[in-house]
Symmetry: C2
Subunit: 313 residues, 2 copies
Amino acid sequence: MKIVIAGAGAMGSRFGLMLHQAGNDVVLIDTWREHVEAIKKNGLRANYNGKEIAEPIPIFYPKELSDSHKQVDLIVMFTKAMQLKPMLQSIKPLIGPRTMVLCLLNGLGHDDTLQNYVPKKNILLGITMWTAGLEGPGKAKLFGDGEVELQNIDPSGEENARRIVDVLKKAGLNGTYSGNVMYSVWRKACVNGTLNGTCTLLDANISEFGATTVAVPILKSIISEFAAVAEKESVILDQEEILQHVIETFDPNGIGKHYPSMHQDLIKNNRLTEIDYINGAVARKGKKYDVPTPYCAFLTELVHAKEQILKAR
Amino acid sequence: MKIVIAGAGAMGSRFGLMLHQAGNDVVLIDTWREHVEAIKKNGLRANYNGKEIAEPIPIFYPKELSDSHKQVDLIVMFTKAMQLKPMLQSIKPLIGPRTMVLCLLNGLGHDDTLQNYVPKKNILLGITMWTAGLEGPGKAKLFGDGEVELQNIDPSGEENARRIVDVLKKAGLNGTYSGNVMYSVWRKACVNGTLNGTCTLLDANISEFGATTVAVPILKSIISEFAAVAEKESVILDQEEILQHVIETFDPNGIGKHYPSMHQDLIKNNRLTEIDYINGAVARKGKKYDVPTPYCAFLTELVHAKEQILKAR
């Protein structure tokens, strides 16, 4: 299968590598110069479950794409949320009438963006529990196990979705077909929406935030806003189950000692955050549906203030 | 006049010093050991508008108070907000039937606390624009000019209030009788409620916060919550005037380069904040009056989270 990975950061590298090893015709696309040049020179290097490997996978800047890259079967979107739209704009020529586009970005509202570039029947939405890191430009660090859950957003796309699930399964990526991926997307957004902005503002890891007396009240307020907005989109969230799911992340023996990705982006790497696609998306949707979302709105404002104070880019 | 300054920090030292120099019989009360011992040994020292002085003003720990300190004419409360209640409890024996108690603390709700210890007719509420700092234990740094505005909270107290205004005037403290001190208290609380918690969380000075694109929207949301709650207490705030008043503080050539006192308390000195008496008070009152105050509630929660993460005391 001819597959393009649009956004070859840590997670894109994992998917590209595993799909390539499974015999697919994989091409990576990215805009980060040092990363692209390193992969062009040395192939995609990785510490893959403890083994040092290098795979010669072609990588291009979006501007390098030519007719030879057309007739792609699958594009996997793995950009940062704010780069989804510019990336789709760049790779527009690759999106043919039969090209499936699988979006695995964190956050909400990406399906609306995708519909401006891809026929609805070809759009697949998913979430993944795989993890991945980068040791530096051109080199990934890939440990552990994970899953991908996906679904067509249009009923007519189910057969194609199941075909892509098989491709992911064959590559060891543990694809599963979801009967209700929107629920999973919202549930995962609740985790990010309660932990990312708060830990970033408080300069705390998940356990440190979770150990405060105000963590659970804050979680409840934010989850209730997500639920009220999700309901307007016919997704009925089980708030109590999600609350317990987030509380489990506080365990310092589990992932509690980690700093959420937004903290890494802003506090560690001085980069802009994805807050507009998590709490900011809920606040925007809340406005549209006339549902009050003050916690999401205020958290979004505070994270933007911090970005500006730190002159993040 | 026999005057007790209950809470002899920077501001209490200024008032104690100026009232003492004007010939009043002043006694200081405080609980900070190094500070009390230094003043017992060397008198209250100060850099007073550039002149080094030392005034032999008696200072006591609350537990040292005896019958000889009774029949006080005026007690000026200058503790941190959370120490108001324990201080009142300690100095209860000093509060006679004719003792006026003037409360100059920042924040809201202190009048309710005072009424548990002082007859309503003897309670004076005020705000001050004087500034003061401490160079170290026992030594104040007193520059610039200021005013005190005060009023009785019970109509029957007006004559006494005007008498205290005169005492402050004679001491150079620029006392004025206010026709509506509750308005001034709420207006000042709006300044603290918009700048203190936000700058503390964002680790920013007033100008840095003010320069962000989200500062004015945040100000508006918080001021509107203060106004909605104040209205339930028959104080009608001019939100637009207060907004402009806060925006003026952003000027880096004015006080903009300063960090609000809450930032100094928590981030610089690792001490608990007064958030429960500013935004927290509005959130509590909002609950009581069934007025939504999510920005105040969330800001209070986030500042408490930061206190706990930093193990502030």
